[in-house]
């Protein structure tokens, strides 16, 4: 499809709309009005880009704009200072999840202007800490002296492990003894 055709084809933009909407739904934006509004804002940005990059698929541009908006908002909101971009965005998203932002402050979703103080405070205190600060200790195993009996038993065991044929022969021997015993006992 040519760029001009894509610009006009409502089906192409309907698909782009659906992709962005679904992405926002995954973020638990379930307020219909807000969902429509945010989706339209992202699509507007995608349309602007499409005007500059007419060869790109509107759906792809919309998906990229959605990701960009979400990342920018998350980092802005949480003021994360993590060095890794991956963890920076992840920590922000996790904080939003833990603070239940989409449920408690739905109107603030993707709002980069002035988040309510209560939300700012909540996000400041919400943090994901998987463990307390490490205080490493040494916990080294000490050998146990198994004594001569266990030593001999262990040696036998090791011999069996080393020579499976020997183990098999021993088992067969025991089986033969068992059968012989049964034969003998039943002929008392």
């Amino acid at each position: 499809m040519s760029a001009a055709a894509a610009q006009l084809d409502p089906m192409v933009w309907a698909e782009a709309y659906e992709r962005v909407e679904n992405h926002l739904l995954a973020y638990r934006v379930t307020n219909r009005f807000l969902l429509t509004q945010l989706t339209q804002e992202i699509l507007a940005a995608a349309a602007d880009r499409h005007a500059r990059e007419p060869d790109r698929d509107p759906g792809d541009l919309a998906a990229e704009e959605a990701e960009k908006s979400l990342d920018a908002w998350v980092v802005h909101l949480t003021s994360s200072t993590d060095e890794s971009p991956t963890h920076r965005a992840a920590r922000g998203r996790a904080a939003i999840y833990l603070a239940e932002l989409p449920q408690r402050w739905p109107a603030s979703f993707l709002d980069t202007q002035s988040p309510p103080p209560a939300l700012v405070e909540e996000l400041r205190t919400v943090y994901l800490k998987a463990g307390p600060d490490l205080e490493f200790s040494n916990m080294a195993p000490r050998p146990i002296d198994l004594g001569p009996v266990s030593g001999a038993a262990g040696e036998t065991w090791r011999t069996f492990a080393k020579w499976p044929v020997l183990r098999g022969v021993t088992v067969w021997g025991l089986l033969a003894i068992l059968l012989a015993t049964a034969f003998y006992l039943t002929r008392l």
């Binding site: 998203r93 800490k129 205080e135 490493f136 090791r158 006992l185």
Partner: protein, 706 residues
């Protein structure tokens, strides 16, 4: 070395007296039954096999005499106001508030268990501790070795949810080891190395444990009061059983264990054992002395120590620390296997772990009582083989006699000279054996009846006694099945075949898995039928004597099927059978476990739900990424490996990758970040149908919530 003080010397003398008393009674009981047996079989011309049969009988008789003796001493101790020397007596209720608490970590080790139950239990423990007002002294850790991606992701979700709901951020922690070296013992050791120095005590919980806050606080205070105690084991009671099997087992444990545990505590005192969970441990000596070495040789007998708990207790004892048990079953709970098959799976693991202890029986420097604990653990399984061998030997001898047509007793025993006919002598021997087997149960029932309001907690005296009767029948049917299973486990382990560390199914869905059940019991049924047939043809007089054993084997399939049913368990409960105090008056927290589930519905279903969630859901993906360790400087081959696999995952779908590849992707932060972003960037047409379905599900689910 300093001389022991007078009070220490008196304590040592007292413990010695107690042990001698228990041993004497046990030997008298064993001696009487062995003498009766010896006199009975000595007249039979068995060409020397009498001695073998008698030795096996004496060993088995000693074991049941030991159990009966322990219960008798426990009964007496309880009836006379409780053992005055138990550890609980060192801290009266009035003194408790005056003992300050110390930093304590509550650690729960998990490995692919039911995640909702794990965290429901942990939340209940947390709330219970909070209710005591002492929460500030406790931190909570979930230490995971889960390898199932679904369990792993679900644990992360539940951990985040629990932290949020409880307001427990900075107090409730989660760690999953990338490599589960040394299983549970390694997991605990890993915790100790990272954070052990921060805490004075550690309370170890299993995935299905529940402990009351008041009990936990009391444990810490008891440890603070008794500075020489390294480990304090509680007596966890089985609860929340739904199948008939689980309900019978929990009833038996709840009713009988107080007298058994009081008897056990009576003779072991500060040389007790560790059962692996629901215990408080003093961390400094534990970290210094209880890191477990590998045993020489390979598994199943050598290698890493599987049943670490007994060994850790022995090592603490070797270092001079006391190991105590609290015999009163209050505030400490766990769940048991729901079916006989699940119990067998668990026993398979425990059997191997206990047989490993044979190497430690003669280890230098361990206290005698620790060796006895090892021995009792070994005999818990090896005794089944002894019983089986003695029954087979007896049957073969009987068949031999049947073929000769000779009289059973050509030369009468000593009892005959006293005018006691062999039939009466046999009956006396059988009666004594039954007394030794059933006596402890009766003592436990009497102990309960003598407590004001005791029977009411078990549904009333009539129902409690009826339950005891039915439980005894249940045990009689179950015993030969366990005998064959345990014998097989012992033989297989000794032949060098190790066990897979199967996760026990803690609460069954109620249905019976007929395929598994038939496979498991086919051998029992055939063995029972053949055995009965051979005895009936060659020594029909003996069939009634063997009938209890053979009936258990022949009817193992219907028995196992019936007792696996939740419906049968509920019916018994409606009839007031097998009730326990935790059902008639549930303690706070325990009753709410079933209702404590999350209300948020998440996308994804099927075998790859965990992976799907971690890729699709932006929040779950974020949680997962936060908990993953970032890798720096991946080798080119590894980078390519991940790139190929994640592309395959999106293009072909989760089913295209084997479990190990999926686990590898889940463990790689870059891949998980890439997968999440790429999934939402790509045109649906460029994704595998499985992903398109998940995206459609996300849309339906969220719009439905709108």
């Amino acid at each position: 070395m300093a001389e022991p003080s007078t009070s220490q010397a008196a304590a040592v003398a007292r413990v010695s007296r107690r042990r001698m008393g228990v041993l004497t009674v046990m030997l008298v009981l064993t001696g009487v039954s062995t003498l009766l047996m010896a006199d009975l079989i000595w007249g039979m011309p068995m060409r020397g096999w009498n001695g073998v049969l008698l030795a096996l009988f004496a060993l088995l008789s000693a074991l049941i005499s030991f159990g009966a003796t322990q219960a008798a001493f426990g009964f007496i101790a309880r009836r006379f106001g409780g053992d005055p020397c138990r550890l609980a007596c060192t801290l009266s209720a009035a003194e408790e508030a005056g003992v300050a608490l110390a930093p304590t970590a509550i650690v729960m080790t998990v490995c692919n268990e039911e995640v909702a139950r794990i965290f429901a239990g942990l939340r209940a423990v947390y709330r219970s501790v909070a209710a005591t007002g002492q929460l500030g002294h406790f931190d909570f850790f979930v230490l995971s070795d889960s390898t199932d991606p679904n369990a792993w992701i679900a644990e992360q979700i539940e951990w985040a949810r629990s932290s949020r709901e409880l307001g427990a951020r900075g107090r409730l922690f989660y760690r999953r080891r990338r490599v589960g070296t040394n299983k549970k013992a390694g997991n605990i050791a890993d915790f100790c190395r990272r954070w052990g120095r921060r805490y004075r005590y550690m309370v170890v919980l299993d995935a299905d444990s529940f402990m009351m806050g008041a009990t936990l606080v009391r444990l810490v205070r008891l440890m603070e009061r008794n500075g020489d105690v390294g480990l304090l084991q509680t007596a966890p009671m089985l609860v929340r059983g739904e199948t008939l099997y689980a309900r019978v087992m929990q009833f038996a444990m709840r009713l009988y264990s107080p007298v058994f545990l009081a008897g056990l505590n009576y003779w072991q005192q500060g040389e007790g054992n560790y059962w692996g969970h629901n215990a408080i441990i003093r961390l400094a000596p534990f970290m210094e002395h209880c890191a477990l070495p590998r045993l020489p040789g390979r598994e199943p007998i050598g290698g890493k120590i599987l049943s670490h708990d007994f060994v850790e207790a022995a090592l603490l004892r070797r270092a001079g620390w006391a190991v105590w048990m609290l015999p009163d079953p209050e505030g400490s709970y766990e769940e048991g296997p729901p079916t006989l098959l699940d119990a067998a799976k668990r026993d398979r693991r425990w059997c191997q772990g206990n047989l490993q202890h044979t190497l430690l029986l003669f280890a230098r420097g361990l206290p005698l009582i620790s060796r006895i604990h090892f021995l009792l653990g070994i005999l818990a399984y090896a005794a089944s083989l002894v019983w089986l061998v003695s029954l087979l030997l007896g049957s073969l001898l009987l068949i031999g006699f049947g073929r000769t047509g000779l009289t059973w007793m050509p030369s009468p025993g000593f009892a005959a000279t006293l005018g006691i006919p062999p039939a009466m002598q046999s009956t006396a021997l059988l009666s004594l054996t039954l007394v030794l087997l059933l006596g402890p149960k009766l003592l436990a029932a009497i102990d309960l009846l003598l407590q004001p309001g005791g029977a009411v907690r078990f549904g009333g005296a009539g129902r409690m006694l009826a339950s005891v009767f039915l439980e005894s029948l249940f045990s009689a049917v179950q015993a030969p099945i366990l005998m064959l299973w345990h014998s097989r486990f012992v033989v297989v382990t000794l032949l060098g075949r190790g066990v897979r560390w199967l996760t026990q199914q803690r609460s069954g869905p109620g249905g019976v898995n007929w395929g598994e059940l038939l496979r498991a019991h086919f051998g029992h049924t055939v063995t029972g039928l053949l055995w009965a047939l051979v005895v009936a043809r060659n020594a029909p007089d003996m069939l009634p004597w063997l009938a209890p054993v053979l009936a258990g084997l022949v009817f193992s399939i219907p028995f196992s099927a019936l007792t696996s049913r939740i419906r049968a368990g509920r019916r018994a409960r409606r009839l007031g059978l097998f009730l326990i105090p935790e059902e008639t008056a549930p303690p706070p927290g325990l009753a709410e476990l079933d209702d404590d589930h999350g209300d948020e519905e998440l996308v994804g279903e099927g075998p790859d739900r965990g992976l799907v969630l971690a890729v699709v859901d932006p929040y779950i993906n974020a949680l997962h990424l936060c908990l993953l360790r970032e890798r720096s400087g991946q080798a080119e081959e590894i980078r390519q490996y991940f790139e190929e696999n994640r592309e395959k995952l999106l293009r072909v779908g989760p089913a295209a990758l084997p479990p190990q590849e999926k686990l590898a992707l889940l463990s790689d932060a870059d891949s998980m970040d890439w997968l999440h972003r790429e999934l939402w960037r790509r045109r649906p047409a460029d994704l595998a149908p499985a992903w398109r379905q998940v995206l459609a599900h996300n849309r339906r689910l969220r719009l439905a919530a709108a």
